[in-house]
């Protein structure tokens, strides 16, 4: 029973982080139509910034907030400096087909990933670092009994829950949130309604960037920090997004949790080596049974 509970709590905490990663991916996919392969590069870079601040004696919370702001700014920069200019390039006929238009930003995001990893290697000499957690990452002891979860698990779940509630309120209750949803669903009608879709797009990048940073900060304490240490998380987060349905925000959260549980239970009941096999099987099953993801919308034919 204790093993089960340990796997459950660990799965919830990991799943919460994957949910944030998937949320970041889904936001940019819906807002800009781009699969952002640079996302965990952004997370790695801002986690290094936080790490450097902490090592220089600043408090964890200051570093935490600065990393989130840096993540938001990095997201905005990617849109302004790379994606927006790219979407305006119409010079060559060969680059103007819809297939190329969808491919170019993806290649650009891979380029950004490479750039961020190279820059991190230059700034921080590629050193592997540990990263602190604000609370203990060992098993929590309450009234003399070892609990099946750690204080950091609770911290992670609480902060992710808070972020998800705030995000959902933002999208449901504010005008800007409505503008973002409308733009994602039908850009033409959104424009005709006076919504400035360029601003909406940059906002998607900003929120996604901050979310990625948060994911980096929450993952780093239980792994090491190196320029490429978060690459695998992107694959897991992407699986979570696809499992949930790439165009659904609640789906991203659900997908994150499902993947988190799969990983955790495989890890506890079998061995860590089987984790990626399990993820692959999960992805295959979902794609076969529900190609649009658990909560993804069916392609509605528009007249």
């Amino acid at each position: 029973m204790n093993l089960f509970l340990s796997a459950f709590f660990s799965g919830t905490a990991r799943g919460a982080i994957y949910a944030i990663v998937a949320l970041g991916l889904v936001l940019v996919w819906r807002g800009a139509g781009i699969i952002n392969f640079a996302q965990m590069g952004q997370a790695m870079f801002t986690t290094y910034i936080a790490s450097t601040l902490i090592i220089s004696g600043k408090s964890y919370w200051l570093a935490f907030v600065i990393a989130l702001i840096a993540g938001a700014m990095l997201g905005a920069l990617i849109d302004i400096l790379v994606m927006r200019p790219l979407s305006r390039v119409h010079r060559a006929e060969a680059l103007n087909s819809p297939a190329m238009k969808a491919t170019i930003p993806v290649i650009a995001s891979l380029g950004i990933l490479g750039l961020l990893q190279a820059l991190a290697g230059m700034f921080w000499v590629g050193q592997e670092r540990g990263f602190p957690a604000p609370v203990a990452i060992e098993g929590l002891i309450v009234a003399g009994r070892k609990m099946p979860f750690t204080a950091f698990d609770i911290f992670t779940i609480a902060i992710v829950a808070l972020v998800l509630v705030l995000t959902s309120l933002f999208f449901r209750k504010t005008g800007t949130g409505l503008a973002m949803r409308a733009t994602a669903l039908n850009q033409e009608v959104a424009k005709l309604s006076g919504i400035r879709t360029t601003q909406v797009r940059i906002l998607s990048w900003i929120i996604s960037g901050a979310a990625s940073s948060l994911a980096g900060l929450l993952i780093a304490p239980s792994s090491i920090l190196s320029p490429s240490s978060l690459d695998l998380i992107l694959i897991i987060g992407f699986t979570a997004a696809v499992v949930g349905g790439l165009d659904s925000l609640p789906g991203a959260v659900l997908g994150g949790l499902i993947v988190g549980y799969v990983i955790s239970f495989v890890n506890f009941y079998r061995s860590p080596e089987d984790i990626f096999l399990a993820i692959l099987i999960l992805l295959l099953v979902v794609l076969l049974v529900r190609p649009n993801g658990v909560m993804g919308s069916k392609q509605v034919r528009r007249v």
Binding site: G175, L178, A179, R181, A182, L185, N186, E188, V189, A190, K191, L192, S193, G194, I195, R196, T197, S297, V300, R302, V303
Partner: protein, 238 residues
């Protein structure tokens, strides 16, 4: 508040959809653009609202050139476009679709925006009843009403309506056209109505512009167009 279009040409590749079109839509009048399928009516409206870039010509709204402005800027100048096919966002609720239309005015004039959405619901009580429903669950007529309501909540001075009658039952068409006519006569809203259904459109319009293959064939008071048997037979087939 007049819309002056002169020598407007819009091309898609080698196809000239709008071919050197000139006409004026007068303030507080209904101007209808009629013509067969493929005459360039929708392309004309899409060019006015900034969705398509023309290759030459000019579109002056109140003396101000609209060409080169983005759609989101043009609607802010008081020109609202209701595109073809009951353009609403099916995944959003009725209330959200209407709120969306007024989003850009929410910071400048909140009180007026609230009264505007109240008026829109009074105009289309059916939408009030279905506020919480997803737009995708509405009937075709209700969706068209919602598309018009979405545009009206921005308090435009000119509304561009693209085939509001498309795919709707005659009774519903009559009701929608009557509402638009009322709006024009009572509030002074200018209307540019594109229709394939010429009988209905000429029935309410002040001025009629007849298009064929992207060119203006006739630009005359609607009454005269209605009475011209030769034109009717040649271009409208009734």
């Amino acid at each position: 508040m007049t819309l002056e279009i002169s020598h407007l040409t819009t091309q898609f590749g080698s196809v000239t959809a709008v071919d050197d079109i000139s006409f004026t839509a007068k303030a507080s009048e209904i101007t209808t653009v009629i013509g067969a399928n493929g005459a360039g009516k929708s392309s004309l409206l899409r060019t006015i609202s900034g969705l398509e870039k023309p290759s030459s010509g000019s579109i002056k709204w109140n003396g101000r050139e609209l060409i080169g402005l983005k759609p989101e800027a043009i609607v802010r100048l008081g020109v609202a476009h209701v595109p073809e096919g009951h353009a609403v966002i099916s995944e959003l609720t009725v209330a959200e679709n209407i709120a969306m239309g007024g989003l850009f005015r929410r910071r400048k004039n909140r009180a007026d925006l609230e009264s505007a959405s109240k008026e829109v619901y009074e105009l289309f009580p059916r939408l009030e009843e279905r506020r919480k429903q997803l737009a995708g669950t509405l009937s075709g007529g209700e969706r068209q009403m919602l598309a018009i309501a979405r545009a009206l909540v921005a308090r435009p001075q000119l509304i561009l309506l693209d085939e509001p009658s498309l795919g709707l039952a005659p009774l519903v068409v009559e009701q929608i056209i009557a509402t638009v006519n009322d709006l024009c006569r009572k509030t002074g809203l200018s209307v540019l109505l594109v229709e394939q259904n010429a009988i209905t459109a000429l029935g309410v319009a002040d001025q009629g512009v007849l298009l064929s293959l992207g060119k203006v064939v006739a630009d005359r008071p609607a009454k005269e167009l209605r009475a011209d048997a030769t034109l009717r037979a040649a271009y409208l087939g009734y």
